[in-house]
């Protein structure tokens, strides 16, 4: 199972513009982190996904995007897993 996760994360970080990705479980525990991503933020990412899920509990999980001047953090829950992708925004 880990091998599948590792492969998926490798595929994601190989995409142009992606600088890192992280996967967390329902409790906010880190399942894996690749590239420029720290496992410490797994809890925070799961908490953000939980907080946003309260907005519209009946709708499907939304995509949450946080943007700074040159970076972007995209978070989405897929079933029991929360994934976050960090991207560099090209000017």
């Amino acid at each position: 199972m880990e091998r599948n996760l590792e492969k998926t994360m490798d595929n994601v970080t190989n995409v142009e513009g992606v600088i890192g990705c992280i996967l967390a479980d329902r409790q906010g525990l880190c399942l894996g982190a690749k590239g420029s991503a720290s496992g410490q933020s797994a809890g925070l990412i799961a908490a953000i996904a939980d907080e946003v899920a309260k907005l519209e509990p009946e709708s499907n999980a939304p995509i949450i995007a946080l943007e700074s001047d040159n970076r972007q953090c995209i978070i989405q829950r897929q079933g029991p897993i929360v994934g976050a992708i960090y991207k560099a925004i090209s000017p």
Binding site: S36, A47, L66, E67, R71
Partner: protein, 106 residues
């Protein structure tokens, strides 16, 4: 807030003070304190995301929450939190091309 109402495809908006109090609102988000509270706690959570990927002085200036047919866009301006709920209409490929070319023409 006429300017918020003029945003294209807008179906609701909220303007909050930094402490979360509702200043103005309209459309589907009129006086929606539940949404206001959730957004305020979301903003508090996003204070520091990942020290490895984002520098400590690198702050987020926009949050968007995208559902299938609508989205919420949140940003801070003039010490107020602006939240807009927008409808998403699928673009046809020619419109998409047009949008991509707009900055080049301008």
């Amino acid at each position: 807030m006429l300017s918020m109402e003029r945003i294209p495809e807008q179906i609701g908006y909220l303007v909050l003070k930094e402490d979360g109090a509702v200043l103005t609102s309209g459309g589907e988000l009129e006086n929606d304190e539940r949404i206001a509270n959730i957004i305020m706690s979301l903003i508090t959570l996003t204070d520091t995301i990942d020290p490895k990927a984002f520098a400590s002085d690198e702050t987020f200036n926009k949050i968007s929450i995208t559902y299938e047919d609508h989205c919420y866009v949140i940003c801070l301006s003039n010490k107020k939190v602006h939240i807009v709920k927008k409808k998403i209409t699928a673009l046809t490929s020619s419109q998409e091309q047009q949008q991509q070319h707009l900055p080049v023409i301008a």
